[in-house]
């Protein structure tokens, strides 16, 4: 999978850092940067269930391309959402529906991929793919 230029440069930046705390610091910085979903738009409908943190996403199509915005109270989840936006926004929804979140591993954040019920990132990513699937069908 080749990533959009903006995401690839973020991946490279993260991959150069060996201190996990520094990577988390970079994620915190990412958290506020991309397509944040403001608190007033958080609803029960767009809430991602099963997360320890409260997380919400909204997805839509624009000229046949998929776009998402997300918000979470945990900053690491919010940071990963911002990065997910870089990975998915502007792609055809059918492509998003099949996307694998390997960019997280490339960034050295593999622990974010642990398949636990409480994993905010994985629950969020699954929701993004589900939304993309239903937008493809729509």
């Amino acid at each position: 999978m080749s990533w959009p230029e903006a995401l690839q440069s973020v991946i490279d930046e993260f991959a150069d850092v060996f201190d996990p705390m520094e990577r988390y610091e970079m994620l915190f910085e990412m958290a506020a940067e991309v397509n944040e979903l403001p608190l007033e738009e958080w609803t029960e409908e767009n809430r991602i269930h099963g997360c320890q943190s409260e997380a919400h996403i909204m997805c839509h199509l624009d000229e046949g391309r998929f776009y998402m915005r997300g918000g979470a109270d945990a900053q690491i989840v919010q940071g990963l959402m911002s990065i997910t936006c870089l990975a998915v926004n502007g792609r055809p929804p059918a492509e998003v529906a099949e996307l694998k979140p390997t960019f997280v591993e490339e960034m050295g954040l593999k622990s974010s991929l642990t398949p636990s019920r409480s994993n905010g990132f994985l629950n969020m990513f699954k929701r993004v793919r589900d939304e993309a699937t239903s937008l493809t069908e729509a």
Binding site: M21, Y24, Q52, A74, S111
Partner: protein
């Protein structure tokens, strides 16, 4: 008598592990599950290497050895828990033990117009089975609230709720607050009111010698994995009169006397409630765990675990932005400390601690009503056990201080 922590830690091979890029593992998630000493691992391996066979069935040598070891495990555990083999039913853990009381005893003996008392301090395992049963049988559930100022059950409401109650279900020691409930008083008051009592001792048994006879409750539930034993096994300690009133909740092989195509008759006592091939290696491992614990004075273990929790709670309270939940001024109680930082989300904080090698828990700890009573949805939680050291508690506080300075 002190504890030789270097020697104890050497008994647990996993404690030598490095995590998070070469950091020493500091395992502070013991309320979720404890680590296993080599003797438990060896007992289970030895069973599989030398004696593995199904129990209670065949006459060959291995079957005899397996049956002997499995039933010897029941004797060891019964002695440890202050009861007899006729009062110890193997289950998969506390959750199944509580379900066995719900579906084995309560469904057979309670109905419309009866009431069950549960508390806001319970683990979901001691809430959900009662809700399902109540819905099916038309039983009333009465809930004892937590006094959040005092971090304790509201005993006034408890007393007022007793008339007409047939069963009282209460946690011995909270998995979130570390608070120990007044079990003797609760048992005494419940029995005086004619109610049976279930004590969830999952969090107490690891560092308190649970004596079923001395506690005097009708049912006590235990999980092996929280006290150095394997996962997948625990037990229900049940009074003889209660066992006589129970109906099987799972059925199949091993629990029957005779089966015809028309009807079946059952064994009596614990075997009646242990359908199918039992957890043989796990039972042997569970017994090896109490053999391991038996070298210690459990009062000393309790003081060690509790004092680490008390030290940590007091240091946490001195850190900027941290709120600690629970009462650490009292020496009774468990080894858990729940806390939150005002700015750093619990999940973020747990990941920052993991990056430093510290294993801790975050979330609702399967006790959503308890957290809701405090107006919370999650906390961070550290929980200590006999192999944890003062240095680990100090290192935890030091790393947390660094995390707060960097991200708080």
């Amino acid at each position: 008598m002190g504890m030789d922590l270097d020697a104890i830690r050497a008994d647990f091979p996993i404690l030598a592990r490095k995590v998070s890029g070469g950091k020493d593992l500091v395992y502070l998630d013991n309320a979720a599950t404890t680590q296993k000493p080599q003797s438990v691992i060896d007992a289970m391996t030895r069973y599989y290497e030398q004696s593995n066979a199904n129990v209670h069935r065949a006459v060959h040598t291995l079957a005899a050895e397996a049956t002997e070891q499995y039933e010897a495990a029941r004797d060891t555990l019964a002695a440890w828990f202050g009861t007899t083999r006729d009062n110890l039913i193997f289950t998969s853990g506390t959750t199944e033990a509580i379900n066995l009381v719900a579906w084995g005893w309560a469904r057979a003996n309670l109905g419309e117009g009866d009431a069950i008392i549960i508390t806001e301090m319970e683990h979901h395992a001691d809430i959900v089975p009662w809700q399902l049963l109540a819905e099916e049988q038309g039983i009333e559930i009465r809930v004892i609230p937590i006094d959040v100022e005092a971090d304790s059950l509201d005993m006034g409401v408890f007393e007022a709720s007793l008339p007409g109650a047939r069963l009282v279900c209460v946690v011995h020691t909270s998995n979130v607050l570390g608070v120990e409930n007044p079990i003797d008083l609760i048992v005494q008051m419940s029995h005086a009111a004619g109610a049976k009592v279930v004590i969830d001792a999952a969090q107490a048994a690891p560092h308190t010698r649970i004596d079923f006879t001395a506690i005097g409750a009708d049912f006590v539930t235990i999980s092996a994995h929280k006290m150095c034993g394997p996962t997948g096994i625990g037990c229900l300690l049940a009074a003889s009169d209660a066992i006589a009133e129970m109906q099987p909740f799972m059925s199949g092989g091993d629990m029957i006397e005779t089966v015809t195509m028309e009807r079946s008759t059952f064994q009596s006592g614990p075997p009646k409630f242990e359908a199918g091939t039992p957890k043989i290696a796990e039972a042997i491992g569970f017994a090896a765990a109490v053999d391991y614990l038996s070298q210690f004075d459990m009062e000393t273990v309790h003081r060690h675990v509790r004092s680490l929790a008390q030290y940590t709670a007091s240091e946490l309270e001195s850190l900027n932005g941290i709120t600690v939940y629970g009462d650490f001024t009292v020496n009774e109680g468990g080894g858990v400390v729940s806390f939150l930082h005002e700015k750093i989300h619990a999940e973020d904080l747990a990941r920052f601690m993991d990056a430093g090698g510290f294993a801790m828990r975050t979330g609702h700890h399967c006790a959503q009503p308890l957290l809701a009573a405090y107006g919370l949805t999650s906390t961070n939680r550290v929980s200590f056990y006999l192999y944890n050291t003062q240095q680990e508690a100090e290192a935890f506080i030091a790393h947390l201080r660094y995390v707060i300075e960097r991200f708080g």
